[in-house]
Subunit: 459 residues, 2 copies
């Protein structure tokens, strides 16, 4: 019976004949026998295959190299050594696909920089097996949380004519031949000749469209790829990443924070439950204390505090800041770090100055701040950003004018306020930022299967 | 207690005081009382709100218009009339957001063409409430199927330098100013000055990257947006749509068909289970016999037949074809229809002529056909397309040369065959095509929240 390696660890196969299909992680040869560290990707653990001198083609088997694909027939037996509970005593080892001596993935510690150069092979290493399985499990946990709570998964469009972020941060999408650009009478590029008859972009957010669906289904979420043209080569920026954007009608800022907190705890809990081997690996080799950090988060009650109060705390701190904390300005990484350490807890910072926030956020009665909230998490900084949305038609128009928003491309969005408008709120969470937090892996390039960053679109 | 309307239908609330928040679908006024057909989007069903003369602000309440948002306080009571089991006797009706007399969504039958013109409001209608909830439930069912069966959800990149489909079908992505194009010495567009230092596209498939992950995790799937530049205005084409692309190592064509069949039955079953009201609505107003059709599919065993045999059956049919069935050519819509009716079942058509299939499909020993399979479904035509992939390095190279594939951008893909290659297979399913089949709604524009088609990128 052909089975996944995963099943060996779920059921008792000792004494049974099985067939496995997978790859060689490493191969230790002795004169009279050999050991193959064998994996098939269905779980983090590999399985030890033992073969002895009396097996068919012993000499051929001894030549099998790391990375080769094999079919193994054998008997599951109790392991005589202490390293594992059981192993497979091979009765047949069939080479399916050979691998050369210079196979880039060898059973040793490769640098992450090197492994990025072989992005098509790096998911075969233990580190990336762990990272990308956690990525899958975390994604599913997010879907579970929202579906279990009655949210409608909404596929908002990626091709748009405008969005909240400003078109200078968006990729242009076109079907034209750059060497035969259609031009108008003035010799300028004529987008009316392009496929959509106008200039279109790839979006940086699904929020606006999400709001249309939230005012139809009450609770919706998006989960899809997002794009930014930022030309920055930092550990936390990529030009393509995935985002989750829930939007909830009849929900205010307090209600929004309840949802953010509950969702995050659910997802962290599911990953700890479902990926114990992977999390143990991260804890041991990537970030010491990771599981403690995450367990603590699940059991904590997140702090909720005003931006203004945060500025006061920062100014009262006995610290020489690189950036002076000042009302009206964004807070820096060093401030985020201090605040989460100060409270030793995740912190919701609420009611930010309106000048540094987008046009759609609801203005507070003070006229200075908006009903927005950032969630700061110990060791990772900002994990989510959200707000109550301006639900008043006139106030939203006024805000658009104040901020020079081109209203022609978002008139449908503004008009939502004319038809049964209601208080509503939403937030965005960068999926990769969550993964960095969950795995301890620091660089966004290492949590995306094939990362896209400036001057880097190989593979 | 504020609750979702959905909960009224899940638990017994009769005799309880509740608060509801949602919108007016219609409002019937009498002199002494009134009825509000009230929904909040959390389930397909609405709830009847009754108010009587003695309520506060009776005259104001009578002015409430369709589409307005309300907060209702009231008592759940057994319904005196036969139309429903219970209703809410309002003690308070609070207008939250007004709606004008000319609110586009009125309680009457609007044409789908008209509703596409108000794409931001159409999810409030019963048809689109049903369509987009089924979309969400079907998406979750797909995730469940693959996660329950040990597949790793893989986010393949959308930004690519090349893919299987040929770049003439792909959107170009750029950050340049079209009126200040960077040019090289020859006066041609210089893509090295663009963000990635080369010309990049938005992908039409995640398959190639999926294969890299399948040869690491054995079983993977993608589920994400996909793009085609096709300038065709048909009922089944959109420029942006969602696709599911599973890829499985150590799996041949027979195994692949097993998976396709099992997955489809699972998803159809989940939607029937979880969306009974929506499916009943489609059955009544959109496609008569829909639930019977879907139930039959779940209980049928799909036919598996060679392409060559299909051509013979078509040629033996006593029918005057618009397109003559001919070995070596694709089959037309009329043929698909005939074949599924001939067998009265979903039909897997296998082993297609290699000339009409992509370079990566595995050539059969006959030298004429490839190990590919299309699933044809009664009433919807082709639902999935898949194949065994060429796992042999030399054969793949030969095929690339034969078909003039630019190997420089896919060298990493080809090289996967050098490192422990194995038999592997995968398929693609257009998510919207599945939705058209599940809902009976015929036009792809009506199953995508904000559809993108040539010259149409409003909203």
């Amino acid at each position: 019976m052909t089975i996944d390696v995963k099943r060996l660890y779920e059921e008792d196969y000792i004494g049974k004949e099985i067939i496995l299909q997978g790859w060689v992680r490493s191969h230790r040869k002795q004169k009279e026998y050999g050991f193959i560290d064998f994996y098939d990707g269905t779980c983090f653990k590999s399985i030890q295959i033992v073969y002895e001198k009396d097996i068919d083609s012993f000499d051929e088997i001894q030549k099998i190299k790391n990375g080769s694909s094999l079919e193994i027939e054998g008997l599951v037996v109790k392991s005589p050594s202490g390293g594992q509970d059981f192993e497979v005593k091979a009765t047949k080892v069939i080479l399916k696909g050979d691998s050369p001596e210079d196979y880039p993935i060898q059973p040793k510690r490769h640098t992450r920089e090197f492994l990025r150069e072989v992005a098509h092979l790096r998911p075969r290493t233990r580190l990336y097996q762990a990272v990308f399985r956690v990525r899958s499990v975390a994604a599913m946990a997010i879907h579970e949380y929202f579906q279990n709570n009655g949210y409608v998964y909404t596929h908002t469009p990626l091709i748009t004519t405008a969005d909240c972020e400003g078109s200078d941060q968006m990729f242009k999408l076109t079907t034209v031949d750059f060497d035969k650009l259609p031009l108008d009478e003035d010799g300028k590029f004529d987008a009316t000749k392009d496929l959509f008859g106008k200039q279109v972009y790839v979006t940086g957010t699904g929020q606006l469209h999400g709001e249309a669906f939230a005012t139809s289904f009450k609770k919706i979420y998006t989960f899809g790829p997002t794009f930014r043209t930022e030309k920055s080569n930092t550990k936390t920026h990529a030009n393509e990443f995935w985002m989750i954007e829930p939007e909830i009608a009849f929900c205010d800022l307090e209600g929004l924070m309840d949802i953010e907190e509950e969702m995050l705890k659910y997802v962290v809990g599911r990953v700890l439950d479902r990926c114990p081997d992977e999390m143990q690996f991260f804890d041991k080799y990537v970030e010491e204390g990771l599981t403690d950090k995450l367990t603590k988060l699940i059991n904590s009650e997140f702090v909720r505090i005003d931006y203004e109060e945060v500025i006061t705390i920062l100014n009262n701190a006995d610290i020489k800041w690189d950036f002076e904390p000042k009302f009206g300005e964004d807070i820096a990484k060093e401030h985020e770090k201090y605040i989460t350490e100060y409270f030793d807890s995740p912190v919701f910072i609420t009611n930010w100055p309106k000048e540094i926030k987008p046009f759609y956020m609801k203005e507070n009665p003070d006229g200075k701040t908006v009903a927005s909230v950032d969630l700061e998490v110990p060791g990772a900084g900002e994990l989510m950003g959200g707000s109550q949305r301006e639900e008043d038609y006139d106030k939203l128009i006024a805000r658009c004018k104040e901020m020079n928003i081109d209203m022609t491309t978002v008139d449908w969005y503004i008009n939502l306020r004319k038809y049964g408008t209601c208080i509503h709120s939403g937030f965005g969470m960068g999926f990769e930022r969550l993964l960095i937090y969950l795995t301890g892996v620091e660089n966004i390039r290492d949590v995306i299967p094939f990362p896209r960053t400036p001057n880097n679109c190989d593979f």
